[in-house]
Amino acid sequence: MPAAAKVRPRADHPRPVAPPPRERPARRLTARLRGPALPYLLILPALALELLIHIVPMAVGIGMSFLELTQFSIRDWTTAPGAGLDNYRLAIDFNAPVGQELLHSFWITCAYTLLSVGLSWLLGTAAAVLTQGPFPGRGLLRTLFLVPYALPVYAAVITWSFLLQRDNGLLNHVIVDQLHLTHDRPFWLLGGNSFFAIVVVSVWRSWPFAFLALTAALQNIPRDLYEAAALDGAGMWQQIRRITLPSLRPVNQVLLLVLFLWTFNDFNTPYVLFGRSAPAEADLISIHIYESSFVTWNFGTGSAMSVLLLLFLLVVTAGYLLATRRRTADA
């Protein structure tokens, strides 16, 4: 990816290989020793940990996808018969139920992720920008917005499932018993509505994170910029559009990606909301794979599905990074 590196001029960054000429020889020596090796030393702990916890298990996981790993062989993997590409064939045979369900689940997950990330980001940005200037109660409100994020997933999601119950939940109590908007009590955890239920719960849980990240990013915008703009006669809205939003771009670039990957692979929210099996309309892929590997002892197939998912996410992420880098460079 040399192209991506090139579009980012870094002429101004400190080059450890070229120490300022004023330094004494002894210092220069240590600087040189530290110089080229230093970045590697800095990333070493991260690298080692990622290798141990992610990369190696991931490699094993990829290996699993080529095995027929079931209850018969899980105890001693050497006895697992090789499956070649059978697991993959099963997963992408969209004419058979397994493939169909996977594809269906994939589309559901895509729609869910787009909606959830979009809304979370929108709410987060709105709240961060609107709470930027001081007003009475701002601190309280900021804290309140962070509360959903501070609750353990289980507690938060079980509360939602509780208030979305058809017969006893708060939501139906309000729209049916109090506002009389409809006579039939709608289901929120079954059928088509369950999709919106999971989106809302997911947004509720993740927008505070967007809010937090953006609030922090806003602190880094120098006030001079606003003052200069104000001197030029720019109004509040123009200041937001011309200064605030563009300055958030580097953080947004990462934040959206973070939210995307986080939401796409989120296991906890659907698992607590729907239990081991989600309604077809809200059959998110993480639960789907759990069900087709863990619950049914079919680890090879589940691994193959995960590898396909990994490839998809890699492609999306790479495309996203290339696109945003280029746009950032143009700006």
């Binding site: 590697y40 990333i43 690298l47 990013a217 992420t317």
Partner: protein
């Protein structure tokens, strides 16, 4: 990209900023009220349900308990060992956060300030680890832990240490990426100035970059903490009754004979209170970031 240019002369005058237009004020009021209602609704359900007797909670929703009771708050400690879970969660989450942020700061500094071979590969590879569904590397990871235990005698399986290093790597990739974003937005002439003042690169990192990135570091710490605080799947396999964390422990209120909804809510509130209080403190810190930014 608008980046603070080298105008370091104090242009700040005593002039008060322009008063926001009325339309802006109304937008602010309406949007923030709606957001507050959205945030509060489930919280209200939690609080009110935690004060209701179980029978109330199991019947149709009412805004107000028929009889107020604090029993759930007393019973939560007897149904499951909540205090133990809380301590476990705290130890695991805090350790994972501190380590994760420390490791991430170094890595992000390297990526943000140095161009070295493998830089892109490293940052993309780190990110790609977030794309593998956890469910699939759960078993391999478990095996690796058990094997490390068998060969070195370091017990990772079932111990808090195992959970800590697992969670620390969960939050690490995003922490690195977020911090790179924050570090990138800190002008490089600042570190250069520190280098000119006779600091090494690490000195520049700790004297200049880290203080300037405090809000970002706070945000990342919160993320790392919450990742560890809420994780369910790995905790359910990697802990035993002495190391079980809250995230899975709270499920204990759904028992074979009954689901104690009111206790679930009460327990959730009790354990979340310290976290919310922590957020409150950090809030001040976030604002303090404002002043840190004034160094510019």
């Amino acid at each position: 990209m608008p980046r603070p240019t080298a105008s370091r002369t104090p242009t700040r005058t005593a002039r008060s900023p322009m008063a926001p237009p009325r339309a802006f004020l109304w937008t602010r009021r309406i949007v923030l009220t709606l957001l507050a209602v959205f945030t509060l609704a489930p919280l209200y359900v939690m609080v009110s349900s935690s004060l209701k007797p179980l029978g109330d909670v199991q019947s149709r929703f009412t805004w107000w308990p028929s009889t107020f009771t604090v029993r759930p708050y007393l019973d939560i400690w007897d149904t499951v060992p909540l205090a133990d879970y809380f301590v476990n969660s705290l130890i695991v989450s805090v350790s994972a956060t501190v380590l994760s942020v420390a490791v991430a700061v170094f890595a992000a500094y390297a990526i943000s300030r140095y161009r070295f071979r493998g830089r892109r590969v490293f940052s993309v590879a780190v990110l790609s680890t977030q794309m593998f569904p956890g469910i699939l590397f759960l078993l391999p990871l478990f095996l690796i832990f058990v094997n490390i235990g068998n060969t070195t005698g370091i017990a990772l399986y079932g111990s808090r240490a195992g959970l800590i290093i697992t969670y620390l790597t969960f939050s690490l990739p995003f922490s690195v990426w977020m911090l790179v974003g924050y570090f990138d937005s800190i002008p490089r002439d600042l570190d250069e100035a520190a280098l000119v003042d006779g600091n090494g690169p690490i000195g520049a990192l700790f004297r200049v970059v880290v203080p300037a990135a405090v809000p970002g570091i706070v945000a990342v710490s919160v993320y790392a903490f919450m990742t560890a605080w809420g994780e369910v799947l790995f905790a359910s396999v990697m802990t035993n009754d002495t190391t079980r964390t809250l995230a899975v422990g709270l499920q204990g209120y759904a028992t074979q004979t009954d689901v104690y909804w009111n206790q679930v809510m009460a327990a959730s509130l009790v354990v979340s209170l310290p976290v919310v209080a922590g957020f409150l403190l950090l809030q001040r810190y976030l604002v303090a970031g404002l002043t840190a930014g004034a160094v510019k």
